[in-house]
């Protein structure tokens, strides 16, 4: 869920961005590729082309449905946009370890997915 | 056989229609809370066709002073009877 509680700030060269207790951007409009890089750095992830295309799928999903997807619909959306080879949970687990739906939503500047634990 | 439970009066709510349209020929209907009004002779006509399958909860009739006013076609059950009905049914569907 999107929260408005400011827990800490992400500080990069361009500015200072409010994060909620779980590390999601409080204000979605703060998102930029630089912010994504910094959030990824916190996760120990270096963003590659394969990461960026998934982040774009997520941002498109949110623009259309106004919600961040749980894992199953994320896998489906990635499959539809990037092909069956990438529309698999193993691919997403490799890119965004632990909890792809949550981690990728965070890096894409979306609120936390509503329908997953 | 499913047990459908309705807690609104047919005098104020059309929920009874939704319950009826979801019922199979051997399903049962139990009236509870404000729904027990439907057991009155003036309102029981909304449940025409359910003879032998229409029940009302005694405790809710009693608390509303309606216990002696039920139509003869309605079977009055207490909470234990409610439990029995629930056990006899495959599942319970609530309408509110």
């Amino acid at each position: 869920m999107a929260t408005t509680e400011i827990y800490r700030y992400l500080t990069i060269k361009k500015g200072k961005y409010a994060l909620d207790p779980e590390g999601y951007l409080v204000n979605m409009n703060d998102w930029s590729p630089d912010v994504a890089e910094a959030l990824a750095h916190e996760e120990g992830i270096t963003l590659t082309e394969e990461h960026w295309e998934v982040l774009q799928v997520l941002r498109d999903f949110y623009a259309r449905y106004e919600m961040a997807p749980a894992m199953r619909p994320l896998v489906k959306a990635v499959g539809q946009a990037l092909g069956a080879e990438k529309g698999r949970s193993i691919h997403l687990m490799r890119l965004f370890p632990d909890s792809p739906a949550k981690v990728a939503a965070r890096l894409a500047g979306l609120p936390k997915p509503t329908h997953c634990l | 056989m499913l047990l459908h439970v309705v807690n609104r009066s047919p005098a104020t709510s059309r929920v009874y229609q939704q319950a009826l349209s979801g019922m199979s020929p051997d399903d049962r209907l139990l009236l509870i809370e404000d729904g027990v009004q439907g057991a009155l002779p003036q309102l029981v006509r909304y449940y025409a066709g359910l003879e032998g399958r229409l029940f009302a909860l005694k405790e809710d009739l009693e608390s509303r002073g309606l216990l002696g006013h039920c139509d003869a076609s309605v079977q009055v059950v207490d909470v234990d009877g409610f439990v029995d009905l629930t056990e006899e049914a495959e599942r319970t569907v609530s309408w509110y």
């Binding site: 259309r64 449905y65 329908h115 | 939704q18």
Partner: protein
């Protein structure tokens, strides 16, 4: 479309409220999405006033409140494709299934009773 196909899903979620007036519809959809996200097969049944949730061209509320139309469009991404509508609910609003934003199966009262009997779990919203 009133064929006799079997609704082989675990959960039937009944939606009986329209958009914007209360949170019932949203909560019912949330329950369906959570179940689907965990791999359950889900059917949605729109009854009575709930049929209004399927009107095309819905907008945000006057204060910018989110509606439910986007969520309904998202159902296919959660593989919720069993969308059922009470025939009576439709005709009550002067609508036919062709007027709705999604493809649905319209159910007569006997078909409706069958749907109830065929689902292991029924949640009413």
């Amino acid at each position: 479309m009133q064929d006799h196909h079997h609704y082989d899903s675990d959960l039937l979620v009944i939606l009986r409220h329209g958009p914007h007036g209360s949170s019932w519809l949203k909560e019912g959809l949330d329950a369906a999405l959570v179940a689907a996200a965990f791999g359950r097969r889900v059917s949605l049944l729109f009854m009575g006033e709930g049929v209004a949730a399927l009107m095309p061209c819905q907008k945000k509320g006057p204060l910018g409140q989110k509606g439910t139309a986007e969520t309904l469009e998202m159902l296919e991404m959660y593989d919720i494709d069993s969308l059922l509508v009470e025939e009576q609910g439709l005709s009550c609003l002067g609508l036919s299934s062709d007027d709705l934003m999604l493809e649905v199966t319209s159910l007569s009262p006997p078909a409706l009773a069958r749907v109830f009997a065929e689902h292991r779990l029924v949640l009413t919203f």
